[in-house]
Symmetry: C2
Subunit: 240 residues, 2 copies
């Protein structure tokens, strides 16, 4: 059944890490490749979780003004150096660390992401609305075949989510009312912030984001405008 | 033969109006449609030229600071009202004028544009680098099937070409040296400004931009890094 509010929505903005791509198993896989090449034997799942664990604190430092605007690639690079030390990984050249840091440009989409976005693109403008930087999201799309209509993100306004500037960006650029724009995300806090600025919201369940057995719960009916199992289910609900 | 400097180039930025799309015959065709629907008989080619003639002066007012930052859609809308008066076209409703103003979101690509960009996209990141605004370029791409990897433009930096900010944008976002980025345009002044900021440049000849018999001349060898008949010729020269 097509959801009644689908007709008024013009643009879909997508959170990316966790919602569109599976950052965790991608980082683990590339870590294991590096480990084999360099003879490093550590728990790459713990490594992936530690690196991602440094993400929110690094954004917070920029948001609180403790650090000037810094694109996510550079925040990732700084936290990577700390995580390498923490896991006692030594002897990598600078260019090897740079290359490893760009794992985030080559993350794997969830199995439904490409086919789902292709369907959604037939009825809506589809854009990223991520904390990732423009080159990261552009390279990721090229690598993974994500068919975005445009790339919008924190870097477009030099503010990280959940700052208001990010959620106001799509209505402003497309001359739309906030309720004509919907944010899709696997994270309730992102969606709650979008609601505060009047956007429609769709929760997409990604039970494997943090590994098996660590699924987030599905929010109760009425919390968000849409709750979807994946992008194909979302396309069904939106009638495309 | 593949040009020797092709290997070092990573991102291609494209001027859009005239270079990728045929604004003039698109505006004429939509004008004639409006004319038939409303019983307006004027010279739509003269109308198109007058509207486009107001473009550069309107950008200049923003660049000189006589007017605050205004996106191209709104500059087009203001000049459209003057041109309608000049051509004695009366009685259009506001929403009809808005719709007509969005002709610029639905311009037709040159015959080689889509196929050429598809080939170029296999070897390079391809992005707009236009004075058009983000929604205009996004809607145009969707309408015409232009396969951009991302949408970058004057609105991304709130400066119109030939301001430095526009030419510096791609190297800054993609962490590249200016010479790893090439601007493609059918207009020598745009390319000359790009050269000033160290970008590689490619002239694409669009002899019909201003109508038949008004072709711009082809710049002498050595003026720009590449001179191409169209995007397919450019793809040949770049080896993709």
């Amino acid at each position: 059944m097509i959801h009644p509010s689908a007709a008024s929505i013009k643009v879909l903005g997508f959170d990316v890490f966790g919602t569109v791509v599976d950052w965790r198993s991608s980082v683990i896989a590339k870590g294991e490749q590096l480990g084999q090449a360099k003879g490093i034997t550590i728990d790459w799942a713990a490594f992936a979780d530690a690196w991602r664990g440094a993400y929110r604190p690094s954004l917070d430092r920029v948001q609180k003004g403790e650090q000037p605007w810094t694109k996510l690639d550079n925040l990732h690079r700084a936290s990577l150096e700390q995580i390498l030390t923490q896991f006692k990984i030594e002897g990598l050249r600078n260019d090897e660390i740079d290359h490893f840091n760009r794992i985030w440009h080559r993350l794997k989409p969830w199995p439904d992401s490409v086919a789902g976005l292709q369907r959604l693109k037939t009825g809506f403008v589809i854009t990223t609305l991520s904390n990732g930087n423009i080159s990261l999201l552009t390279n990721m799309a090229k690598h993974a075949g994500l068919p975005w209509d445009c790339i919008l993100c924190a870097e477009s306004v030099r503010h990280y989510k959940p700052d208001a500037e990010v959620y106001r960006l799509i209505p402003e650029l497309f001359d739309l009312e906030p309720e004509q724009v919907m944010l899709l995300a696997a994270h309730e806090n992102d969606l709650q912030a979008a609601q505060k600025h009047g956007l429609k919201t769709g929760f997409v369940h990604r039970p494997l984001e943090h590994g098996s057995g660590k699924a987030s719960s599905i929010p109760p009916a009425g919390t968000f405008d849409f709750v979807a199992k994946d992008f194909l289910d979302l396309a069904d609900q939106l009638g495309v």
